[in-house]
Amino acid sequence: MEATLAKEAKQNIKGGAFLIESSDAASVYTPEQQNEEQKMFQQMAREFVQKEVHPHVIRIDKGDHDLVVDLLNKAGELGILGASLPEEYGGMGVNFNTDSYLSEEIGQSNSFGVAVAAHTGIGTLPILYYGTEEQKQKYLPGLATGQLKAAYCLTEPGSGSDALAAKTKATLSEDGSHYVIEGQKMWITNSGFADIFIVFAQVDGDKFTGFIVPAESENISLGAEEDKLGIKGSSTRQVFFQGVKVPAENLLGEIGKGHKIAFNVLNIGRYKLCAMVTGGSKAVTTNAIKYANEREQFKTAIANFGAIQHKLANMGIRTWISESATYRTSGLINDRIEDLKETGMSGWEAKLVAAEDYAVECAILKVLGSEVLDYCVDENVQVHGGNGFSEEYPAARAFRDARINRIFEGTNEINRLLAVGMLLRKAMKNELDLFTPAKAIQKELTSVPSFGQNGTIGFLASEMKAVETAKKAILLVAGAAAQKFMKDIDKEQEIMMFAADMLIEVFAAESGILRAQRIAADQGEEAAALYADIAKVYLNETLENVHSNGKEAVMAFAEGDEMKFMLMGLKRFTKAEPFNTVAARRRIAKKLVDNNEYCL
């Protein structure tokens, strides 16, 4: 009876529904719920990165790809490469949450992390999700141990974000025994040492299709290593296919369904990118704190100056928020996978479906996490002053390495458009009812406003109410824009981007408040006091940003009284309670500085 009740009580929110529904802190997953075994896995990955990778960061950065291969093999021996693969294919079969903790640690290994991510994500997952049983048996055990290394060939000189416009061709031989691939791929991570390539090519001119191509095939050649801005230790080359014969059984999935492979693996990829960059943000924040504690100017450590504390606190706040949003989503996907498995679905299929269900959140996280990391690496350079501009210190490398995260796995612009676009599509397909609440908001605006935060008793309750109200601002703007432009809303990219920023901010702020509430419920309000500070400072910025983005959007498409009406509504929906953010940041910075590392 109790078990049934518990199960019924945990009705997780559906993908994208956070915009119109409220979440309960008791059901939100946070890193504080990490179990003993997950802790050991994370510690294992941390030891590996600290002892095996960090001492060689400079060698790796100078392009020692043999070392990268050795380290990939070591990661394979430890189980890291096969962590999330099913046990029947030589993997460890750990759950989604556990995998998140591993990603966080691997995300702290600069270029090497990119090699791991490309191998385990876009390199391996297409075979797991779309391969035949024979293909899985043939390749997955080797990919799990690192015996085989994989690379993913999607992008071409003329097709980046517009991936389906690829020109690479695959022609079936007359006897049907093999395909001949002709074309050129670029920005191929791990290409210098990969054993297999996942290649996308057009069959019969326009049927976008995936293939597994052994690197040892004849007529494959590689371009020189790209001279990149960052992640210099990651092997990135062009791959040329000049009449490469591929056995017909190496076709991946169905002919003409390559887009499903290409896009679906990206949902997980975006999520994992966020878990990795969150780990990166922690490492960079620690780097800044340590430097600020060591560096003395005017006869005192610079960590004692308010200007520096402000920076350290902001790095900590954003990192913690990004982490909260990451694990909140991890928990949702994890639960969804378990639910789907109970219906008889295989683990990998469930993972694919669950990630698709939360594709909006995955896109949001990709933008949020990568921009938090970019914020942190930038401020880390600033905290380092002149030394931050020197390659003698790790701040410069972190600054360069972080930049790619806003570009790959779908640029942040594409992900912003996707997040809002997917939500609107869900609404049009009646999967998510955005229109009823949007109409209710219009009505609410014509009635007398309620003053104060009535009925808000409890830990961070008025802040949560402010988030719920800010969601109305999004519905107001996005609803009106959708009504005005109808199907052509896709062409109004600037408005979509403003809406996306509002959406990302609100999701992030809500995730932080939920986590702080959960900590308060589990450990007491005193233990959660600093987290409440974090949530409040972030919320304060969120409300400002939601207001300013909404205002710009409204001014772009509304006029006269309608515009005034909506601007008034925006103001009403983004009202912030006065809060001394300077004092709060000082409290947060004190904790960071006293511990001499990221410790939130």
């Binding site: 075994e37 050991m40 294992m44 021996e77 430890l78 189980g79 962590a83 460890m92 511990n595």
Partner: protein
């Protein structure tokens, strides 16, 4: 062969050291605990290597409360076969040695390993006491050990060189750098650690021989005095009168 490895739980090396109870107790709140490095990296890993080469079982033993299970599981994840925890406060070296001796007497081990010292209280006498209590030979600071049946060639580091010893039969060895390389537990090891036996036994009635009266932190470093490069006399005077090094 039956190998026993004694492991101690110590604070992570980055821990901020503070004391409570009138400076007589170490403040354990918010401390990240690890296996004492020389116990883990050298003693445990060498025992596992010997087992892998020659067969046998590796048992780890720890004296402490239930909160120690977490570090014991790590030893199991690295490759120990089973573990014993003596459920008692490890109040001093004699108490710990006597508890381990009681277990080892009953079980009969062929080789007993300890690390060369603990990084928390700089303890290094458990191995020697244990050997005495078990009436076994004791070799300290071993940097290399090769086995030939039940005869062992042990290399010790001594001032300016090495000393090679040979010992036969059951003995106690304290291990240091050179003995083995640290092993990061792999995921399969971590998973299997969950199901490996961890037996909890109650302590035998031995009383500690010593009691900690108080701890003192090292004095804070005084400010650096800068002496003008031309003023050698001042420098000599300060080194002589204040620093008292010349």
């Amino acid at each position: 062969m039956k190998y026993l490895v004694c492991i101690s739980k110590v604070p992570d090396t980055t821990t901020k050291i503070e004391f409570t109870d009138n400076n007589s107790k170490f403040n354990e709140s918010n401390v990240q605990w690890i296996i004492n490095p020389t116990d883990e990296w050298y003693a445990l890993v060498r025992a596992i290597e010997l087992k892998e080469a020659n067969g046998g079982t590796v048992t780890v033993i720890n004296v402490g409360g239930a909160e120690n299970d977490q570090v014991i599981r790590k030893a199991l994840a690295i490759g120990a076969d089973n573990a014993v925890r003596v459920n008692a406060d490890p109040s001093d070296a004699y108490f710990v040695a006597s508890q381990i001796a009681a277990h080892a007497k009953a079980e009969g081990y062929d080789l007993i390993f300890t690390g060369k010292e603990t990084i928390n209280y700089n303890g290094f006498v458990v191995g020697g006491m244990l050997a005495e209590l078990l009436d076994m030979p004791y070799i300290s600071l071993a940097a290399k050990l090769t086995a030939n049946g039940d005869t062992y060639e042990v290399t010790r580091e001594i001032e300016g060189g090495e000393e090679v010893l040979e010992v036969s039969g059951a003995c106690v060895i304290s291990c240091q750098k050179g003995m083995a390389e640290q092993r990061i537990p792999n995921m399969r090891g971590i998973m299997s650690a969950r199901t490996k036996p961890l037996t909890v036994v109650e302590a035998s009635a031995e009383a500690p021989l010593t009691e900690v009266v108080s701890y003192t932190s090292p004095p804070a470093r005084s400010d650096v005095k800068l002496v003008d490069a031309d003023n050698v006399e001042e420098l000599v005077k300060l080194l002589h009168e204040e620093a008292k090094v010349i």
